[in-house]
Homo-oligomer: 304 residues x 4
């Protein structure tokens, strides 16, 4: 059965799952998104594509952006990066500050907020204009020059992001944030605000399935060993305190965001992006997770 | 390059890593094991084998046994099992009792001791003689009829296993241990005492690479979906609080034990077992982890 | 106004507070106690007494017994005792095992269960028949030769005390319990089962108000400095995770038990015991705490 | 023996305790204080005084200031204050953020930094110029019109107070900080910078020994019941995670600061202030605690 066929089947079967989650409502721009939307897009390394539903509607990628900033920072710093941020699952719903305090300001992994702030700090030290570097990478990977920051979202995040302020100051108190707190937060809130659609996002994740090599330019963004490592962190840490559950049900490395997006991939084969804004209590898309679970079950494909 | 060639190369290159760890010394039978031993064995699904070093010397498999008891309990209970034990990484070096208390006696995953005790409790409720069931499964998978419990090790574990006593009583206080505490601990200490060599262990793990199907009898021990799930738990939780590190460096699901054994596999391809008794501070074999890291790096094969 | 007058006034005013708590129900002997009972008894160092209500009905003193065992162990070991148990408030509703694990088996203070088990272990090492020693001390202090263990309560505690089993084994795994686990638990369950009435209990606490000197025999059970220290621990740790609240509202050192008893005192002046079986969510008597709050407010007497 | 005699004896005997601690060094103004200084001053309610050593040298009162701001806020808000901050000991060396996160932004008590920030926030909402209000209160209690903020200290605290920034933003993220973060921190850093000597400090604490009544003006700053409550919190929470130890060894309510000051008192009798800059690992003055322990031991006076 073709990928297009499988995806259309899942799109149809998953309809009863709407209404089981709740759209993120901590900022107005996210709260007013219509909940009953679903986009799916798949892209294989050998050039096949499949799409269903609202695959052309852009949404706020939020934490999915941490994947791209991590790839940039890992390429810049190599394994030195892991002196400042760990690679272990946080294992805690109460992750944010508790573990960070126990572990003296070294975030457990680069996908919890504290870890992502350290990663962004790396970019702030290396680049004069880190926001442009991040945006240009994503545009190039996605093949869309008009992907942009959503300034309204970025401003809202800033106005309400007290917890991230607290995290950043905490990191600074531990000596693990070298740039200005305001500078790092500005970049961070902007990277989270980037708006993409599923088609673009599945393309943008393909370099991870391609062992770190940009699939269109052929540039090795990461070494094969680095790509293995990044993919492993995505699998073990990419879904907050539901990472084990995602590996268990879906069996692919990937990353989610509170905008309702989920991107995942099978190394050597393909990348897939799903978007549906209703979240479960862990902050992951209810419908998105179900789509991906059925995708690996029905294709019999997963990394396991 | 053949697997035999690669393994011999790693065997030779890894020699400088001896002396960096410490043999488990909490019971005499483990403490008197010679530290500078190393066995490696590989077995592919299509029948190739490769061995190096002390691959015929038996050692105490300890926590590796949790893989087999989990497979048995999962087959018996299906997804009901996850009502009593979770699938998330514990994420804590201080895992044992802290999380268990926070989470009201539902162990974070089946590979921390508390979770393994619940799994063993399942077997105690289903079988009159759970010790024989466990031993027979392992003999059949490994193709060796003389694999046995080491009664001296089991007795030593019992005489010194105060922490496991504490865990078992804690589970009982939470209503998550239905058999007698003494019965469950007796089975548990025996399963940990099983002695195998690397050749046997690599064979015994091959059913996991084979999506749950016994590679010699063809019997489906687990469904394909169950095998995916079990493999995912091994990847995210199989190496105590170093699971992220193992996925990151090695990129294979697997399981370690404080006897110095490590077994890992690539679904659809092969299983590999390494044994070297010196442990790092996380309780994982120093040399064993290095061997497996080089194995995936040099073959360019991993699940990522 | 006389103490008798004040106590009668409080007895009358506190009636509306019945029905706000819940009788301990984890063992049948406690569960079947009539909830709407209230006894109050006061005893001054200069020989005055005052009583109200059910002051002659005996109840299970439970954790109040920890005060007497601590006095015995402190007298035996002096300040060496504090190498095995601390003097800081636990500060945690989740005290039992979490802190104990963090702090490597040294209980935070002698009034959490783990600490009381260590104290009982001290007595088990010093005395051939620690149960008789404890009982005889209490009989002598209370002036009642027929105070006894309630064997039904002790047996019920043993049959259901899985959490205490877990704690004792945990302490043993940390090397902080030297006697047999079963021996220590047997003494512990018996000391908790002792039945006394308020009149007896107020007399039995008078030695603490008397700076460690037995008020009837004149024997110095503790030095003045030791008495200061014991009283301080009672104030900071005597009411589980509500110790701050009790100091704040009542302002006297004291000790409570899940049988509904509370004993407190003002050094140099008097001791008072209250019993009412309905407990709040912290395990302290609802009516008992209210009686004592009004007692210090209406008399204008407290240690502050 | 007169108080003057006792204090002089202790002053002499405590000399060997110098060199056992470490002067606070996180800001230059504190780090350059000569370590081998010791001032003692005592003031009774009936007008006696006693002094020894460097009792006229002013030092940074730091956290001792939290006593005065709490008295102000309690007088303003009454028991409503306890909706925003608790009265239980924190019980944790790792108190700052861990408990705060568990308990959703309600600080455990008003003497940990988070709790003191909430108290300061109360003053910021009630007063146009909270800094003057605080300073005027202290001047009036101490009877010294030239007590002032040390602007260098306040500026240094601000420049390095990343952890307090983090705490304040965390409180704001939980809705428990109503004023601007910068405003609250400015007041907080100033109150900590106030410089006083022991003679002034012992006078300034006398209102607490006097059940809330200003001993010179006769004004009731707190009701008798409020004074009891404030004193109880000082006893159970006034010495960070060493509160139990202080109650145990010294047996007086009091408050310490990282400038090396300690103030304590016996209700109805007297207040005493000690200053010596070397701190133990809990942030309390080594020599100061010893002085106070000997004071209660040698006088036979304490609240217990």
């Amino acid at each position: 059965m073709s990928h297009q066929h499988i995806i259309e089947g899942i799109y149809s079967d998953v309809q009863p799952f709407f209404g089981r989650g709740k759209v993120a409502d901590y900022i107005p721009a996210l709260a007013r998104v219509r909940p009953d939307q679903l986009g799916i897009a798949l892209q294989t390394l050998d050039g096949q594509t499949a799409v269903a539903g609202d695959s052309e509607i852009r949404f706020s990628i939020q934490s999915i952006s941490k994947t791209f900033t991590l790839a940039l920072a890992f390429a810049l710093e190599g394994n030195d990066l892991w002196k400042r941020v760990g690679v272990e699952p946080s294992g805690n719903p109460f992750n944010s500050l508790v573990q960070l305090e126990f572990e003296n300001g070294k975030p457990r992994n680069p996908f919890i907020n504290a870890g992502a702030l350290v990663v962004t700090d790396v970019l702030c030290r290396h680049y004069d204009d880190p926001k442009s570097v991040i945006l240009n990478l994503i545009r190039s990977l996605a093949g869309s020059d008009d992907i942009s920051f959503d300034e309204e979202v970025a401003a809202s995040e800033k106005a309400t992001g007290f917890r991230n302020q607290s995290l950043a100051w905490f990191l600074k108190s531990c000596g693990n944030l070298h740039s200005d707190v305001d500078t790092v937060l500005d970049v961070y809130f902007h990277q989270c605000s980037i708006a993409m659609n599923c088609r673009e996002l599945s393309r943008a994740f393909l370099f991870l399935a391609n062992h770190g090599v940009h699939p269109y330019t052929g540039e090795a963004m990461l070494t094969r060993s680095q790509a293995k490592r990044l993919n492993a962190i995505l699998l073990t840490c990419g879904f907050y305190d539901q990472a084990g559950e995602f590996a268990f049900r879906v069996g692919m490395p990937g990353k989610s965001g509170v905008g309702g997006g989920v991107a995942a991939f099978i190394p050597g084969e393909l990348a897939v992006a799903v978007w549906s804004p209703e979240l479960n209590e862990h902050g992951n898309s209810v419908v998105g997770m179900q789509v991906l679970e059925w995708f690996t079950t029905r294709t019999g494909r997963s990394i396991f």
